[in-house]
């Protein structure tokens, strides 16, 4: 068990180092921006009085060396103080935490939908390898990689919201309805269909390709041959023996792709006016609110590091053969 603990501690240490490097990047970018932090924070808001700006410079230690500034910056981050957003007149941390649930709902739903659809496509492709189903699934994943997420979203809006008027294309709830409970949940679900479909398209392609490859890989394994020689049915072998083992690489991939998923949600949320972190980032771009943008970059990176650690531990738990040294 001590091996497991050592592994966990080492991964935690690596995660912390990764975050430290990202903080250094952030700090570097802040210093590269025209003007200093105070200019960035209030200058673009319309300017403050010279006295107030001087007081802020002192407060941030801008009258001192770069090292002092950096230590203060890290000190603030450790207290989870990501600064103040002038465009929203609110602390960045508060803004981010307020927008997190909507983004989490969107991303988790996307992963579940894409995971199920992609694994289904990949399994069909692997079972009927080289046949028509496989060819269609392969063509689908090639297209899935090539279609820009934001364009797909707009085209879905044209068809389902503008022409057919079946689905809403804006926001998370119908602002006019005062529904609660199940009716409200149903309303949110209706608003989710288009954004989730656009975002899940690409991930379905990835899952389909990966699960097909993983299934074909384990098809050669001894235990599959044993199962076959026991006379088990093909469906049972695929479901109980192959798929279970083929799912492991998909877990790792999900951890690695979280950053990309977050990137995709920036674009999707800004198209569908989804009240999440991505929309917050889009508005920050428009207002050129660098403090808020860097806060979102820091927070989303932290999220990716934590999720990667969790998938690593989950992986080690699911597959005890993984070396824990």
């Amino acid at each position: 068990m001590s091996g497991g603990l050592g592994y966990a501690l080492r991964r935690l240490w690596q995660g912390a180092l990764t975050m430290l490097l990202i903080v250094v990047f952030n700090f570097f970018l802040l210093r590269l921006a025209p003007g200093d932090i105070v200019d960035v924070m209030i200058g673009q808001a319309g300017g403050g009085s010279p006295e107030a700006m001087a007081a802020m410079r002192q407060q941030f230690g801008l009258d001192q060396g770069a090292l002092v500034q950096f230590l203060r910056y890290i000190g603030n981050l450790l207290q989870f103080d990501l600064g103040y957003s002038f465009s929203n007149s609110a602390p960045v941390t508060e803004l981010i935490l307020g927008r997190l649930p909507a983004s989490a709902l969107l991303m988790v739903t996307t992963l579940v939908v894409a995971g199920l659809a992609g694994t289904l496509l990949g399994t069909l492709g692997a079972v009927w390898r080289g046949r028509l189903v496989d060819r269609i699934a392969s063509a689908f994943s090639m297209i899935g990689f090539a279609v820009p997420v934001f364009w797909l979203a707009l085209m879905l809006v044209v068809v389902f919201a503008v022409q057919l008027r079946w689905l809403p294309a804006n926001g998370m709830v119908n602002l006019l309805s005062e529904a609660t409970g199940w009716r409200r949940a149903l309303d949110i679900a209706r608003h989710m269909i288009l954004p989730v479909t656009s975002l899940a398209f690409y991930y379905t392609a990835i899952y389909a390709r990966l699960s097909r490859a993983a299934l074909l890989d384990v098809a050669k394994a001894d235990y599959v041959r044993t199962a076959r020689s026991k006379g088990l049915g093909a469906t049972r072998i695929v479901l109980r023996h192959q798929l279970r083992n083929a799912l492991l690489p998909l877990v790792t991939m999900t951890g690695l792709q979280l950053g990309a998923l977050f990137s995709g949600s920036v674009v999707i949320e800004s198209i569908f006016a989804w009240p999440g972190l991505g929309r917050l980032a889009f508005d920050a771009v428009f207002a050129r609110d660098l403090t808020l943008l860097l806060g979102i970059l820091f927070f989303s990176s932290l999220l990716v590091v934590v999720m990667n650690l969790l998938t690593d531990f989950l992986y080690a738990f699911l597959d005890p053969r993984i070396e824990l040294a």
């Binding site: 990202i22 279609v147 820009p148 044209v158 503008v162 970059l297 990176s301």
Partner: protein
């Protein structure tokens, strides 16, 4: 050997299709000024003309700019950003990966942490921050995208460099007293580069898609028409003129599809062992 490769390339349907698509796009980019004289940002006719109306093959946009001209000049931006950003990523990745794999130990640890840090940050958010700081222009977009793509290359090259370090010809070069720089340049890099060829196609495709997203979000070069910025402008007109968004989007799909086909074709041709994977 070269002859054999060319022969196999010409008989590989995916590789040939991909190369033809990219060739046509490159031709469009080169001849943009001849096929559509004048600035693509100039107003060429009445706005909201559907494809075919009043002699505009692909119609005009909300301001009356010719969509065909936008497509042709947009091809320049896409190819430029795609190749430029991929080139930068490859350069950074090859240098980092070679040094990390060859020197191992602490250098490797430090560089791998850096690689992981860059891979951790959501790439579009990082790119947006860099473009906001540096100001939206083609060079800053290339820089921002190039800075996010190198970790995959670094990992591939590092694995090769780790292996090559043990190879006899490298050991012989070390024993003969050749300097590190010469060993890396002459023996390690040329032999570590082959997996990069296939990764390059993914980088180019990724760069084109990212540039389109940036331009769509309003962070493109304000002095250039790009496929993404055309879609961004068309967003206001989805109700009355969806073709304005559909056409440049199809161009992006075709370009990325061409790159993917070429990449997977090259993969088959360069790694014949994996063909029956």
């Amino acid at each position: 050997m070269r002859d054999g490769f060319l022969h196999r390339f010409l008989r590989h349907p995916a590789a040939l299709a991909g190369a033809s698509i990219l060739g046509l796009i490159a031709l469009a980019a080169l001849l943009a000024g001849v096929l559509a004289p004048g600035s693509p940002q100039a107003i060429a006719g009445s706005p909201f003309l559907w494809p075919g109306e009043e002699g505009h093959w692909l119609g005009t946009d909300v301001l009356g700019r010719d969509i065909l001209a936008g497509l042709l000049f947009g091809a320049r931006v896409s190819l430029l950003v795609g190749l430029g950003a991929a080139g930068l990523s490859i350069l950074l990745g090859v240098v980092t990966g070679t040094v990390a794999g060859y020197y191992r130990g602490r250098v490797d640890d430090a560089l791998m942490r850096l690689t992981e840090a860059v891979q951790t940050m959501p790439s579009l958010v990082f790119t947006i921050v860099v473009v906001v700081v540096a100001g939206p222009s083609l060079p800053s977009i290339v820089l921002a995208i190039g800075l996010t793509g190198w970790p995959q290359v670094a990992r591939l090259v590092r694995a090769e460099a780790l292996r090559l370090r043990q190879a006899e010809f490298v050991q012989a070069a070390i024993a003969s007293g050749l300097g590190d720089a010469a060993i890396l340049a002459r023996h390690v890099v040329p032999n570590a580069i082959s997996p990069v060829v296939v990764a390059a196609s993914i980088l180019v495709a990724h760069a084109i898609l990212t540039e389109a997203s940036l331009a769509f979000l309003g962070l493109g070069d304000p002095n250039a028409v790009s496929w993404g910025s055309m879609i961004g402008t068309a967003r206001e007109a989805l109700r009355s003129g969806w073709y304005m968004a559909a056409i440049p989007g199809l161009a992006i799909c075709v370009a990325v599809l061409g790159i993917s086909l070429l990449g997977s074709g090259l993969n088959d041709l360069l790694n014949p062992r994996l063909r029956d994977g």
